[in-house]
């Protein structure tokens, strides 16, 4: 049992676990039926109290204690509001997610409550995506970096084949087409392969791109591949010999991690009976402790684990067969360049508490971005918060297994994966970074920053990295 405290001490340095302690502190009064004092809290106090309540609530949800979770949720509902200050908004979405999770203990209730929910329409998705693209500079900066990397890698190439693993945004490729058409040696033959589940999205994209290429008189072909990335047949990409291939993935690879849960669960001695994952979590936590001991021993021997590996459980980054297979398949195409854009957060912890703490931080940053750039009443902002961030939060907090798609991971994890798949890092172009920096400065907002980390770029809000862009090429020796 001493080991337990040691294990905790290794992670206690991170702010996350300090937050856990914060949740232990006694801030709440007795549990009455009404909370008149709650309404008298000032913004800051209310914020702190909301954090406290969210953590308390998450503890109860994690242990499956519906009754106590309910009490916490009731208090949160008094304070949270999707149109209040930042913390009120965040709390509203997190409490919704926590409630959704605990409600899954009663699958009947959960299903009934969601029975009439409309599946997100394509148009709605497109709208939210566009809003995200327009309101934040993150995607724009990423697109600039990706395109510049592609243009530079394809210098002198006559036949260029770009594969977009998440073909939702034609803008990026319109810009690329224009960039390629302007290059000194003349435009190449360009083929763009777009992969997406919805045919209409691809049709729209193909139309836009062909139109643009026609205008600029570039030999162009769009190759739509309708389907899920998860079961993609590489043959359908029609990569031909002699063409120079560039692959771009924007905020897409992390969902491939979702499939990796399944074998892990089966291996565990405790079968997961209810969907809330209580047993699983306990099991994980138990094994975590023993692994934590090992880590602790390592530390004594002078080989200290990275702060990240200490705070996330060692089980959260096991071999990920699905994503590894996929990356290896990509490697098989011998691309000249692979550019990966990902959320730079650690939202793939195995326990609810880990994910809650990490996602609280990163979504706080995103909500803060909005707070300082968009008016509180803006319907665009509300839409973004609800339909994009709210849904992501719900997925991170409430879902498990294959359903949990938003498995954002830090760049260092991706570096490991890409490395073992036979890729090596290519520093992003100086000129691309310059452009991205100019773009960020153009926002007239101090918060947006950019960090160059060994040739990879982190687009940050204040000091927190939000999105990472990294470029890769095939390593000669595996």
């Amino acid at each position: 049992m001493v080991s337990m405290s040691q294990n905790e001490s290794s992670s206690l340095k991170s702010s996350s676990s300090s937050l856990q302690v914060f949740s232990m502190m006694s801030l709440s009064p007795s549990l009455g039926s009404s909370y008149p004092w709650l309404k008298e809290l000032k913004s800051e106090e209310r914020g702190l109290y909301l954090i406290h309540l969210l953590l308390t609530c998450a503890n109860h949800v994690a242990t499956g204690s519906l009754e106590n979770a309910n009490i916490a949720l009731e208090q949160i509902s008094e304070l949270a509001s999707p149109d209040g200050d930042t913390m009120q908004r965040i709390a509203a979405y997190f409490s919704e997610a926590l409630a959704d999770r605990i409600l899954k203990t009663w699958p009947g209730l959960h299903k009934a409550i969601n029975s009439t929910r409309v599946v997100d329409l394509v148009s709605e998705q497109a709208l939210v995506r566009r809003l995200f693209f327009e309101v934040f500079p993150f995607l724009k900066a990423a697109f600039l970096l990706v395109n510049q990397a592609i243009i530079e890698a394809m210098e002198g190439e006559k036949v260029v084949h770009v594969i977009d693993l998440n073909a939702a945004e034609p803008m990026q490729w319109i810009a690329l087409i224009r960039g390629l058409s302007a290059r000194p040696e003349g435009p190449p033959h360009l083929r763009i392969t777009g992969i997406h589940v919805r045919k209409e999205v691809l049709d729209q994209m193909g139309h836009r791109l062909s139109e643009e290429a026609e205008k600029l008189d570039i030999p162009f072909q769009f190759n739509p591949v309708v389907g899920d990335l998860e079961d993609l047949d590489v043959e359908r990409l029609h990569v031909k010999t002699g063409e120079a291939v560039a692959i771009s993935s924007v905020l897409r690879l992390h969902s491939l991690l979702a499939y990796d849960d399944e074998p892990l669960r089966k291996k565990l001695p405790l079968a997961l009976k209810n969907s809330n994952g209580i047993h699983l979590q306990r099991a994980l936590q138990m094994s975590q402790n023993t692994l934590g001991e090992l880590l602790e021993k390592d530390k004594v021997n002078g080989c200290s684990p990275s702060p990240d590996s200490a705070s996330s459980s060692p089980l959260s980054s096991p071999v990920s067969p699905k994503v590894d297979t996929f990356l290896t398949a990509l490697r098989g195409l011998l691309p000249k360049l692979v550019v990966i854009t990902e959320q730079d957060s650690n939202h793939n912890g195995s326990t609810l508490m880990e994910r809650l703490l990490e996602s609280l931080h990163s979504y706080a940053a995103l909500f803060d971005c909005l707070e300082s750039t968009v008016s509180r009443a803006s319907p665009e902002r509300l839409k973004l918060e609800k339909m994009l961030f709210g849904n992501e939060i719900k997925n991170i907090i409430s879902c498990e297994g294959a359903e949990r798609k938003e498995r954002h991971e830090k760049l260092e994890k991706w570096i490991q994966r890409l490395d073992s798949a036979g890729f090596c890092n290519v520093p992003l172009s100086y000129y691309g970074m310059l452009q991205a920096k100019t773009l960020l400065q153009g926002y007239n907002c101090d918060g947006y920053k950019m960090k160059d980390e060994n040739g990879c770029v982190m687009v940050c809000w204040q000091d927190r990295p939000m999105f990472s862009v990294s470029a890769w090429r095939c390593r000669n020796s595996l």
Binding site: S18, M25, T56, A62, I174, R178, A377, P379, T438
Partner: protein, 579 residues
């Protein structure tokens, strides 16, 4: 000769190949001009890096050889030359024997060159480059140091000729994008423009912002409707409550101040040109606000709904500006983050209509919303926020974490960690239960018996936690000003019982801490540390509890501390004495 010219299309042609061939083969001198190609159009064709010549001789040179600049040294004057041919010509000046190579009539064995960098694609013989200069430049550009720096724009080059070419044009031409960015190179400018234009066009094509939003606002989900209104409500109450006499001026003020706030976000201080636009926008604001106010008086429902309009105005200010961006402000505007689009003007009007018509279309709905949205929560909280500046969520989280860490580091750290790690334990109350880990953490320590017996009871722990907070407060009271203190302290003072238990509790904590520090061999002065650090912790707790009503605060403390502390007081004091 025929053979030589036939090889032409494969090689990048030009002088380099010439030289290179000569360099490799010694034969009779021929003027280089004799190789002038007859197949001019073909000549321009670039050598594909990937094109492999199966019969070609693959040459791998070391980086040193590749990078050597003047490999051919004149033995007389030590002058170095890059090419042997040049050295030969130089030797002629010293009256030394000299010899220029000449093309043979024999077919030249084709040579391809490998990049010495093992990780490079051109390290693979199948992707070898067809000429020596090419591989030299490739190696410098891709794997070499960029030692040539343009003094004007700081761009660096690895190959001197690249640098020279750039230096000739750098600064001579400037390209300015509508967004205000300056470029010295045309290709950079075009790349950038492509992006800017694409964005603007796409936005025009799918104008998500205002027109769509307007309609969503109107016919879309009610959710937004009510959100918008509650926001309105939250802004209106201060006016109604406090300044009934001169509401219109107040409204004006409200409009203009919020407008100013917006501008702060949108306009960088350096962009003076855009400031000129402000008065007109402000005017718009004021007028819209006025309108809202007038209508406000005309209908009862108007309270909530019509002020929607000025708020719309607020939100759309950026676009309003965009629509007037004829020339001076356009640069700034584009910079605002690609919000601008060509249809800005039209979309504004659409949503203006949207904003205005909404209430008219759904009057009853509006009335409901207003009624329910009028909760006192909004009124009070917004009023508070007018006074105190808003703290970002990130800052709040940091603060919370800080509080958490100061607490855990400076009080009984292991204890709290133990608590932290038992998150998944079963829980009965709203407080997490620390039972199993907690108890065992203290096993072996003195007085663990007492502790454990306490810990078994849930409410006891609560008491302990409360006592931490209480201690924090009391230490603050000595030196710290905080408006919440009086309430809180009064609560403790109010009854002798609490006071007593508080003091015993303090011992309790101190003892534990001292002991734990001993166990952990951490040489920290326990008591000093405690007082110091509680200042930070207690400050926060004090603030929080200041918001609670006194009655409730008292309630917990008493109920939770009272029953057990009396019994525990004895051993604890003993420990304390020792510590």
């Amino acid at each position: 000769m025929a053979a030589a010219s036939s090889s032409k299309p494969f090689f990048g042609t030009r002088e380099e190949n010439q030289n290179q061939m000569m360099q490799e083969q010694s034969s009779i001198a021929t003027p280089t001009s004799s190789t002038a190609p007859t197949t001019a159009p073909q000549k321009r064709k670039r050598n594909h890096p990937g094109t492999s010549y199966p019969d070609a001789e693959v040459i791998a040179l070391s980086p040193k050889t590749l990078m050597a600049t003047n490999r051919f040294i004149c033995e007389v004057c030590n002058k170095g030359f890059q090419r042997e041919q040049n050295l030969q010509l130089h030797r002629r000046g010293h009256n030394l024997p000299w010899k220029l190579r000449q093309k043979t009539t024999k077919e030249v064995k084709r040579k391809v060159y490998l990049c010495p960098e093992p990780t490079c694609v051109h390290h693979d013989p199948s992707k070898a480059l067809g000429d020596l200069t090419g591989i030299k430049k490739h190696y410098s550009r891709k794997h070499g140091e960029k030692k040539w720096k343009c003094e004007k724009c700081s761009k660096r080059y690895a190959v001197q000729s690249d640098w020279k070419a750039h230096s000739k044009t750098c600064g001579t031409r400037e390209y300015r994008c509508d967004c205000g960015t300056l470029f010295s190179r045309r290709d950079s400018f075009i790349t950038h423009r492509a992006f800017c234009d694409a964005l603007a066009q796409e936005s025009a094509r799918h104008p998500t912002n205002l027109s769509t939003m307007g309609s969503h606002h109107l016919f879309g989900d009610n959710h937004h409707m009510s959100l918008g209104l509650s926001h309105v409500r939250s802004q209106i109450p201060p006016l109604q409550d406090q300044n009934q006499v001169q509401p219109s001026s107040n409204l004006l003020r409200l409009g203009s101040t919020s407008g100013a706030v917006k501008f702060d976000h949108l306009i960088s201080p350096s962009n003076h040109s855009s400031l000129q636009n402000m008065p007109s926008s402000m005017f718009f604001m004021a007028e819209a606000a006025n309108q809202g106010f007038h209508q406000d008086h005309q209908s009862h429902h108007g309270h909530g709904s019509y002020p929607n309009k000025p708020l719309h105005g607020l939100m759309q200010l950026p676009d309003l500006q965009g629509s007037t961006n004829n020339s001076p402000t356009s640069a700034n505007f584009f910079n605002l983050g690609f919000f601008s689009n060509t249809s800005a003007t039209s979309s504004i009007s659409t949503s203006e209509i949207g904003g205005g018509q909404g209430p008219a279309l759904f009057p009853s709905n509006m009335g409901d919303q207003v009624g329910s949205g009028m909760s006192s929560l909004y009124t009070t909280s917004m009023q508070h926020e007018n006074i105190s500046p808003h703290m970002s969520a990130t800052a709040l989280l940091q603060k919370a974490a800080q509080i958490g860490s100061t607490t855990s580091n400076n009080t009984t750290s292991t204890l709290l960690r133990g608590l932290g790690s038992s998150l998944s334990g079963a829980t009965k109350s709203d407080r997490p239960v620390f039972s199993p880990n907690f108890g065992s953490n203290f096993e072996g320590g003195n007085g663990s018996e007492t502790l454990r017996s306490h810990m078994e009871d849930d409410s006891n722990l609560q008491g302990l936690m409360n006592s931490l907070a209480a201690n924090g407060n009391s230490s603050i009271f000595d030196g710290g000003p905080s408006h919440g203190q009086d309430n809180n302290f009064g609560g403790f003072n109010g009854s002798g019982l609490t006071l007593e238990s508080q003091s015993s509790n303090a011992n309790f904590c101190n003892v534990n801490e001292a002991k734990l520090h001993q166990n952990l061999a951490a040489g920290i002065g326990g008591t000093d540390k405690l007082t110091l650090d509680f200042l930070g912790v207690g400050g926060m707790v004090g603030n929080i509890s200041g918001g609670f009503s006194q009655r409730e605060q008292q309630g917990i403390n008493i109920s939770s501390l009272e029953p057990d502390m009396k019994s525990s007081a004895q051993p604890n004091t003993e420990h304390f004495g020792r510590a």
